[in-house]
Amino acid sequence: MNGSRRLSLIILAAVLVVFVVSWILHTTGFQGDGAGTWLSVRDGFLVTLAAFLTLAIFSFLYKDNPYYKFAEHLFVGVSAAYWMCVGFWSTFVGNFIPRVSHTLSDFFQVPYKGFNVFYFVPLILGIMLLLRLSSKVGWISRWALAFIVGTTAGLNLIRYLRTDFITQVSNTFVPLLVDWKGIGPFFSDLSLSASGQFMLTLSNWVIFIGVFSGLIYFFFSKEHKGLFGTASRVGIWVLMITFGASFGYTVMGRVSLLVGRLTFLFQDWLGLIN
């Protein structure tokens, strides 16, 4: 126990030393005026801080540790405040104030857009939501929730029916035979190009059967037995191809994110590459 404590103290000391050295090295020098010096000192600190936080997050891959905990807790605090501020300025000051009060619009220097009584609806609902904090009238917050859920249900019902359901269904109407030109040309060009009818035709079959059996897999009220069971099994296979393919396709994009982070460390912080 004592040994591990000593080790963590040594690590802490090392981290502090590296931090300070990095800060000094990144402080590009002392300009003549005070402002320039201050900016340089500040930027040196910020680069070092960003690098420290980056490494702290990466350290989680080894195991949970105090440096990760520090980064995590800082991140939670800063980000919660970040979205509160953005919500306040963009929605509350940007959308709400210009519709309810001329004086407040002037105070926040946003253009007043004319009084709109309907904007008191969200105000009232918002206050109802806050009443949750009181145990006596907390039940009234359900009215606000009911409004939110009703809106959600109404909007989504139509949106999904229109864009996902109707369009996807009609996209499945595809020809079974594409430009039939005889057996010879059909089998002699097995390429993805527009002249390769075999693949075009095969693709259409695969799409049709895939959608068909995939939908059968999603039947809930019928037992998946017999012919129906076979179709549903084919459906699972199609879904598995989809999952495998999407997974494989994403790998490259994820790796490039890591390239971006490591480039920051190697280039902006350590100056190892250019």
Partner: protein, 410 residues
Amino acid sequence: MKHKLLIGCCLLLLPLLAPAWAQEAPVADTTTDSTAAMQAPAPVTDLTARDKENDHGHGIVLEWTPSVDDDGGLNNVFGYVIQRAESPDGPFEERGRVPIGAGGYDDIGSKERESDGFMPDYVDYYYLVRTLTVDEAVYTDSDIIGPVQSYGQWFNTGRIPVLFFVIGFMILTMYFITKARGGAKLFVRRLAGIEAVDEAIGRATEMGKPILYVLGLGTASDIATIASFTILGRVAKKVAEYQTGLIVPCYDPIVMTVAQETVRTSYMDAGRPDSYSDDMVYFVTQSQFAYVAAVNGTMLRELPATNIYMGKFFAESLILAETGALAGSIQISGTDEIAQIPFFVVACDYTLIGEELYAASAYLGREPVLLGSLKAQDYAKAAVIILAVIGFITINFDWGGFKQLFQVLD
């Protein structure tokens, strides 16, 4: 059985009643060359203007036959300018430009009285179309037409197909709900992911470790999140019965509010209201990766026996699921975010794929009403399959009209 057939047929035939829509005007290829450059082109002909249908006013549709010198004749047309005035004598102002080959233009103004581009309804407008050449000074105006007024319609006929589907689906759902209430037995297949939930809660109790329930990054305006509340309600009830721990970190404050309400009620229903505390369901932060960082930390520190992820998930799905696997937890997931399902399938023990997430809430309840709505969903799927087959056949016989029935105008 007869009822079923009848309803199925109705659902299939409904879209057939909807009007078919014309395709876009074909765009001409300009292939012939011409030497006459700076001669005035012929004007456009057959210019018509009428109110735009299916809108709330403030729009006028113009149509014309392109100049004979557009793709032929002198072949010197550069484009068309649409001009509008409030009297036949002008002044005319430019409303828009279209390239050669175009035979129409939608003049859509703003609906906002305060905005600059406001276009009032019930006002007489006069239009002309100017045929341009590359030389700004050489052009030909069409005859002036008008007056024409824009006005709003009360009903959008362009969305009739959607209305048919809504009504059809509503009838189906109501029918099966009534039937289920009447005592008919409805079969529902097993959902492995949901059955695993009960098992996992038992396991957590044995191990004396808590259950982590993640509602995802959805807000209360996502149906997936609302479906997740139902599952949370069920989980919380079991957890309360077994006296296991429950941790629900939330991403959205409103979601947190609802989740607290749901869990509290479940504890009350289980007869253990005092075991509930608001600390079980807490707000973390409304930032994707900060939330993940915190949940990751929780997973490795509290080592929950089971992690349940239900709702909307984005790039963080795999970070959560892999960290959970590292902590040795059993993981059950469900999302309707198609791009993330593969990651859950790969990294979790059980996954509810898309629609199964919504079905789960009905399945858990086991109430006839909810099961009835599942049955309606299945019938709709059967209708899709039949429609797809019909579409397949019509396309193969080059009868494009059927597919056009599915066009929804905006």
